[in-house]
């Protein structure tokens, strides 16, 4: 079974040389730590930055340089700044190659719910609806089951949707799965020490298993 860092590490392997990548808040943020040094990747922060770097050294924080999670960050050489409209312009125009974000639920046809729980304080969707509506390559990083032990990979989402038919791949503490165009979660890899039976048990939506499922290498 993977911890959060393990999920981030596995997702980092999906990032290819030359990609512009938008990382959401939570586990996706951790992915930045595991991008291989031998590939060239530019991180987009939707508040208006391409070229996001690591946190600043103590004493070098700058209130004018933050990411979409409102954390102080740095700008790498070659960074570019733009306004919020252009930021979502480049997202809508599919210039960003990969979007990685968290989710509360994903359905077997690729719908995602990650912004609202009825009856609880709603903070808002931020940029998530824009990202999922436009991105061609969306990977969801999340736990396979919620705190109550219920599967988050469902036939249909029960929570209010963020977007429809958009998630392409899911990485959880148990497995890597593709969302098939015709519907269903195709099991690609299982986490170290996790059996296919455990994944079947934790998946409420349609699970497609073909042949031997290899253990992931991270």
């Amino acid at each position: 079974m993977l911890d959060k860092e393990g999920i981030a590490k596995r997702i980092a392997k999906e990032i290819k040389d030359g990609y512009y990548v938008n990382l959401g808040i939570g586990i996706p943020t951790l992915v930045a730590n595991y991008i291989p040094a031998n590939i060239d990747v530019v991180l987009q922060s939707e508040n208006g930055l391409l070229g996001m770097g690591p946190f600043p050294f103590e004493g070098e924080e700058d209130a004018d340089i933050i990411n979409a999670g409102k954390q102080t960050i740095t700008m790498l050489p070659g960074s570019a700044i733009f306004d919020s409209a252009m930021s979502f312009g480049m997202i809508r125009a599919k210039k960003v190659n990969l979007t990685i974000l968290g989710a509360m639920e994903v359905s077997e046809n690729g719908d995602i719910a990650n912004w609202k729980i009825p009856g609880k304080m709603v903070k808002g969707m931020g940029g998530a609806m824009d990202l999922v509506a436009s991105a061609e390559n969306i990977i969801v990083a999340m736990q396979h089951v919620n705190k109550a032990g219920e599967s988050k990979l469902l036939p249909q989402c029960t929570l209010p949707l963020t977007g429809v038919n958009c998630v392409k791949k899911i990485v959880t503490e148990l497995a890597v799965l593709d969302v098939l165009p015709e519907g269903g979660f195709k099991l690609l890899e299982r986490a170290p020490g996790v059996s296919v039976e455990e994944i079947i048990k934790a998946t409420a939506g349609k699970l497609v298993i073909e042949g031997e499922v290899t253990e992931m290498v991270i």
Partner: protein, 231 residues
Amino acid sequence: MNKTVNGADEAIHDIQDGMTLMLGGFGMSGLPEKCIAALVKKGVKDLTCISNNAGVDDFGIGLMLKQRQVKKMISSYVGENAEFERQLLSGELEVELIPQGTLATRCMAAGYGMPAIFTPAGIGTEVAIGKEVRNFNGKDYLMEMAFEADFAIVKAWKGDTMGNLVYRATARNFNAVMAMAGKITIAEVEELVEPGEIDPDHVHTPGIYVHRIFQGLNYEKRIEQRTVRKR
């Protein structure tokens, strides 16, 4: 073409109860903190505020919320404010949550003189309820209307007396799009210079969009999430 006013109080003097305001900034970054302080002092109320966030309890729009000056917030994310939550749950405050790109682009449309935009954001979700959907090339898009705001209030790093503005780093965010979108746009800047001191090639917001400008003093420029690494 001198747009200079004496300070925040003069800049906002004619903002009235019930008006719609755009307020620039993302979180605490690039927040027009001098004008917000002046609005709190003036006590103008029943405002509709279009702003990506709603401030924290003791800074930003949170200060206006505390005084019950805001009737409605139009935002994309409002997580960090206990008083906001209290007013929302008690029904004192109306909140319209819209996707961040839609928020920015509705501002942009206003500044570009376009009545509406089409965006895929929100298709198939509750955001789409009651809105016109159009299909272009096999994909559905929501029609979203340009904002109409009585005032846009923005913060820039540098400006000249003609209203030309330059922002700094990610403090540009919504400021640059909202600056174009107000019937009247007020800009507060950290440094006010004479015409000619800003290279025309470096202007982010042309002065034609800006009606009033002043230099604020002693900016607090608060940091919301101070994250650092060890040396």
